[in-house]
């Protein structure tokens, strides 16, 4: 109660017409001007512009003609649009796999074993490496003839496929790479979450005679829930926009478009086929889809958040 009083008192000091208030306000405004201007110029204006462009037949360089809903109607009938959308969501299978693996890794590393720092660094290296470089490296690793993956498989007598040129293996190959790439980041967040669980919880559980699985199920995992939630949201948003690795590893969208993702398709339309209007329309739909999915996730997480606090 005391603290709220102090805050209230302070607030009255900053009365709207006081000089101090105005000075501080102006200073605050100057402080934030850079990010605000950046947002307006580099995010909001292009956003509005592309919404507008999605109702035109703009080719990206010439005149715009308003065409109403034509682009959206076209999209419904465009098989490639649906296929690439499907591929994009299929590739998200990697998200739960990555979360589980990174959680397990974090649990292992949080036990204070020898060499923890070493492994933390090892797992984090892919995160700080350039995505383009990683994609090229994995492209080599997946090479059907000389690739590292197939050479290792050959050691145990398995003849590996030509990963990136086979309809059935190209998606798993890309999923494996994304999991590997994202592991370090998720692991670090989980590690922080696990280590910030108060020791007293475990001590209390020990007193109650809980075994380690029960402790994990009732303490560690629930305490990491905010991190899981955060990772799912950011991974889903990131996963919907997967592009660089696709464009480098399978520059033609993979055999029979089997690895073409929606953003890759949008890019093709916009920059190769002079259909910026149509590409904008697809981006708009994708943006709305991501928004709906994220809103749903927040809605579903509402209850658990309440319970935790």
């Amino acid at each position: 109660m005391d603290s709220t009083k102090v805050v209230k008192k302070k607030k009255s000091m900053f009365h709207h017409d006081s000089k101090l208030y105005r000075d501080e306000h102006r200073a605050a405004f100057l402080m934030i001007i850079l990010p605000v201007l950046g947002f307006l110029i580099f995010s909001l204006v292009p956003l509005i512009y592309s919404v507008f462009a999605s109702f035109t037949n703009w080719n990206g360089i010439g005149q715009m003609t308003f065409t109403g809903l034509t682009n959206f109607k076209l999209m419904l009938k465009d098989n490639y649009f649906w296929k690439t959308l499907y591929n994009t969501f299929f590739l998200m299978i990697g998200i739960p796999i990555g979360l589980i693996l990174s959680f397990l890794l974090a649990s292992a590393l949080s036990r204070g074993l020898k060499g923890t720092t070493f492994f933390r660094v090892i797992y984090y290296i892919p995160v700080i490496s350039s995505l383009a470089a990683i994609a090229i490296m994995w492209q080599w690793a997946y090479n059907g003839d000389y690739g590292l993956v197939n050479q290792v498989l050959a050691l145990v007598g398995i003849k590996g496929p030509n990963w990136l040129q086979n309809v059935h293996t190209v998606k798993p190959a890309i999923i494996a790479m994304s999991v590997w790439k994202g592991l370090g980041y998720s692991m670090l967040l989980y590690l922080a979450a696990i280590q910030s669980v108060p020791k007293s919880y475990y001590e209390a559980a020990d007193l109650d005679g809980a075994n380690s699985f029960q402790k994990f199920k009732n303490i560690t995992w629930p305490m990491c829930r905010p991190v899981t939630f955060f990772l799912i949201i950011t991974n889903v948003i990131g996963g919907s926009q997967i592009f660089t690795e696709i464009n480098i590893m399978t520059p033609t969208g993979g055999p029979e478009y089997s690895s073409a993702t929606i953003v890759w398709y949008i890019w093709q339309k916009a920059f190769k086929n002079f259909q910026m209007g149509y590409a904008s329309a697809m981006s708009l739909v994708l943006g709305i889809l991501i928004f709906i999915i994220t809103a749903l996730q927040f809605y579903m997480n509402r209850k658990s958040d309440y319970q935790l606090s």
Binding site: A27, L30, T65, N143, G144, Y257, W267, N273, Q275, M276
Partner: protein, 450 residues
Amino acid sequence: MKIWKKIGLLALSAVAVLSIAGCGNKSASGSDSNKKHTITFMYRGGEDEKKAYGQAIKQFEKTHKDVKVKIIVTSADNYATKLQAAISGNKVPDVFYIEQNNLLAYVNSGVLKDISKEVEKSNIDLDNVWSYGVNSYRTNGKTVGKGALYGLPKDVGPMSLGYNKTMFEKNNIPLPDKDKPYTWDEFIKVCQQLTKDTNNDGKIDQYATGFNVNWSLQSFVWSNGADWSNKAKTKVTIDTPKFAEALQLFADLQNKYHVTPSAKEAQSLDTYQRWMKGELAFFPVGPWDLSTYNKLNFDYDLIPWPAGSTGKSATYVGSLGIGVSNKTKYGQDAVELAEYLSTNKKAQKTLVDAMVQIPNLKDMAQEWADDTSIKPANREEFLQIVNDYGHAMPAATTYNSEWYDMFMTDIQPVLDGKITAKKYVKEEQPKMQAKLDAANQQLKTASAGK
């Protein structure tokens, strides 16, 4: 507030505003004082090419004392995206590379300057430049090949066929004739002779070839009298027996005759590596490959592609153009830079010496082909392709390449032998036709709005 704090804040916000303003118009105010003006040139290429063009531009600046050329260079992959972003952002470079299949869109959107008059006034002998190269940048807004000139060729890129001479000699197989192409039957027979296990370990380690469908199928189709579309680019014509026959033969090289590395390995990377290691007998060779291939430890030379039922060899010849922005302030200088890079003898020599292209000038090209000190010996083949049996890529003159890309996207099952060529072309034709119709519709709208 403390005065220092205030100053600090003002400085901070000034930096913010300036940094954003910096993204806008960088006027040439600085260069006015020494009466130099700057024109920008945007291009792309590999390391060798970047270096060679940088050198040629320096030579240009020496002859044009009042001009400074600002270079924007990108990797090949990024070029189209960056250029289009520059165009829609109204920051078109004064001079830039144009890809053949973008010509119609750029001209109809008013991006490119009509340079016919400037080129005519200058003393360039266009008859001495490959007509395929020049005509690739002529258009009336509807078709490519005639009309006003909107660019000059940066280069022409004939795709020839190379063979590993050392391998032929080792296996006592008569060398191919450089004037008379193999028939398909002869080609298959030679291929079968050359595919073998050289170290007797039970695994084949020497193959006849390994063609990438994207860059080699054209030769088989065209030399069999078939094509992807009619001349007017209105109808997709892949559903003919001649087309199916050529495509089937291409797939059979892998699946029936087994003269290429196994069916899964169509990735060009693999076969490219094999060729460089000397494990392939035949491989496509473009002029830009010479600097690399001449360092290989086997002898190679060029021959015409095997001929199908027409009895005549065929292959594709690409081109990249140099265009001038319609909005340039320094039109004369910009056109002169394009002319210089495309047709100046000194510039051409710099580029040809760097082994990144063949000369654009016919007389110079002939001299280059006759020079016996350069490998491979039969460089004449390149010239014959440009002059005689080279075709433009199917989508080079359509508004976009979606219809043609579709053919290559869906083709894997044919190459894997899972469906026949005959079935494929029949199923694929209507899909491609729809995309070609859409592209032509786009062109119609664009040229009407001009």
